[in-house]
């Protein structure tokens, strides 16, 4: 799949933003007044910034409001609905903390729940696609949720929780990579089933339908070399898990090292998300002999 920067930026940043909102909704840290204001500004910048960047890849962003209509069937629509509810509830909850120094517990819990649902619905947009066997797995939502919560915990300064969650994200990520590598082969979809010509012999793509490129090739036939992908995987896991874990374990109470851990984690999350898209094999590539 073509790794579109707007979508990578969106999934990483809104994931972390909603992750922080989950922790704030739970009262972790239990901040009020100006402190709470700072936390909420960071959370909203990430979450809303991510959502806004996601509209950049739309052909007609001016019609984006129509996307709230089909929540009964579409995960993309559900994501939009959940995000709006989460942001509105958390805004009220945040106002309570900042201006009235009161924590409306129920409101915080509802906001945290919808923030969690937003991340889950985002992940289901990808996990639902049978056409991309690497994504079509319960591990995809687990990966999105663990990254969102780990980033949120780091931002919320929940050191112990963050350590556990970063470790969890790393385990989920490694398993997703391992299972993902065999996902297309195990899906049962290949050039023989794609053309129905398998019973006659061994099928090979002989000539594509056109000499130039097209939308399908640009969008779905992106290929990363195995060597590069291995290197990138190591870089990603070092940045998002190993370095932050070392920093947190070595000096759990240093603010500067925590910031460094967060920056490293975000860098690794970007590399991981880039790979998530770039390594995903869409079955339409079979017709072009690209798999």
């Amino acid at each position: 799949m073509h790794p579109a920067p707007s979508v990578i930026f969106f999934t990483v940043f809104s994931g972390v933003g909603f992750g922080l909102l989950i922790f704030l909704g739970l009262g972790l840290p239990a901040v009020t007044g100006l402190n709470a204001f700072a936390f909420f500004v960071i959370a909203y910048l990430c979450a809303v910034g991510g959502l806004v960047s996601s509209t950049f890849h739309l052909g007609h962003p001016e019609r984006a409001l129509k996307a709230f209509k089909q929540w009964r069937s579409s995960w993309l629509s559900r994501e939009g609905v959940c995000a709006v509810i989460a942001l509105m509830v958390m805004a009220l909850y945040g106002a309570g903390l900042v201006f009235f120094e009161t924590r409306w517990v129920a409101l915080g819990l509802i906001g945290a729940l919808f923030s969690l649902l937003t991340v889950f619905t985002t992940s289901m947009i990808y996990a639902q696609l049978k056409t991309i066997p690497r994504w079509n797995s319960p591990l995809t939502p687990l990966m999105f949720l663990s990254f969102s919560l780990a980033g949120g915990a780091l931002l919320a300064g929940q050191i112990t929780t963050a350590t556990v969650l970063v470790l969890l994200a790393a385990i989920v990520q490694v398993v997703l990579w391992m299972i993902g590598d065999g996902a297309l082969a195990n899906s049962g979809t290949n050039l023989a089933t794609a053309t129905g010509l398998g019973t006659n012999g061994n099928v090979r793509a002989f000539e594509p339908p056109h000499t130039g490129t097209n939308y399908l090739l640009k969008e779905f036939a992106f290929v990363v070399g195995r060597k590069h992908s291995m290197k990138l995987r190591l870089i990603a896991i070092a940045l998002f898990a190993v370095i932050p874990l070392l920093l947190l374990l070595l000096a759990p109470f240093s603010h500067w090292l925590a910031v460094l851990a967060l920056i490293s984690h975000l860098g690794g999350a970007f590399a991981s998300r880039w790979l998530f898209f770039a390594e995903a094999e869409h079955v339409v590539g079979l017709y072009y002999g690209k798999r």
């Binding site: 007609h60 069937s73 006659n200």
Partner: protein, 252 residues
Amino acid sequence: MTTLPTSTTKKLGLVIDLDTCVGCHACVISCKGWNTENYGAPLADTDAYGSDPSGTFLNRVHSFEVQPEQGTAQLVHFPKSCLHCEDAPCVTVCPTGASYKRVEDGIVLVNESDCIGCGLCAWACPYGAREMDAVEKVMKKCTLCVDRIYNENLPEEDREPACVRTCPAGARHFGNFSDPESNVSKLTAERGGIDLMPEQGTKPVNKYLPPRPKDTLSEGAGDIDILAPYLEPVAQETKGFLGWLDKTLENL
């Protein structure tokens, strides 16, 4: 609503005969022509005369080589367009309801004024039947020429999809699959029509007729074709002046 109808009154679709298709791409061109000049946003070409030409097409013809364990390889031309699936994954993922499947005839369409161009339907389609138009920024797909098949301004013989109407080899057939007596249902039954990627669970309406085994020319080399007598030379011996000239020149 982008939920799928539980059943459709008719199931309109195509039968594509891989045995007959000669790979001339006439269906590609007639499709592009009709769908650029008629209903909906035109199918754009970008950099058409430059170094990196690209364009939107609703129908494309691939070519595949099939190598059996023994014998010669076979070249199969493979036209591919929207299969108007009964369980169309492209419809249910649409967040706006722009993608829908019609209850009356099962055609899968895009309401272009509701399409936000997110591209998710193209991601959900295993066949590559949807393409985002680079100029109009909306999703384009085969409409089964919905503006031809019911168009009473056209002569009756033209009320079928442009690709079917134009195919010089008769490799494309249009009809109603919910009627077991229709041309397409009979063809599918007789020739063992198949689904593409059945494991994806899309239940495509369009069917593909597999190519028949290749002729074994070498085996019949000793036989004389039944048409051979008609191909024998008619003139046995030359007569008259030319005959005399021929003989004289031969004897020189």
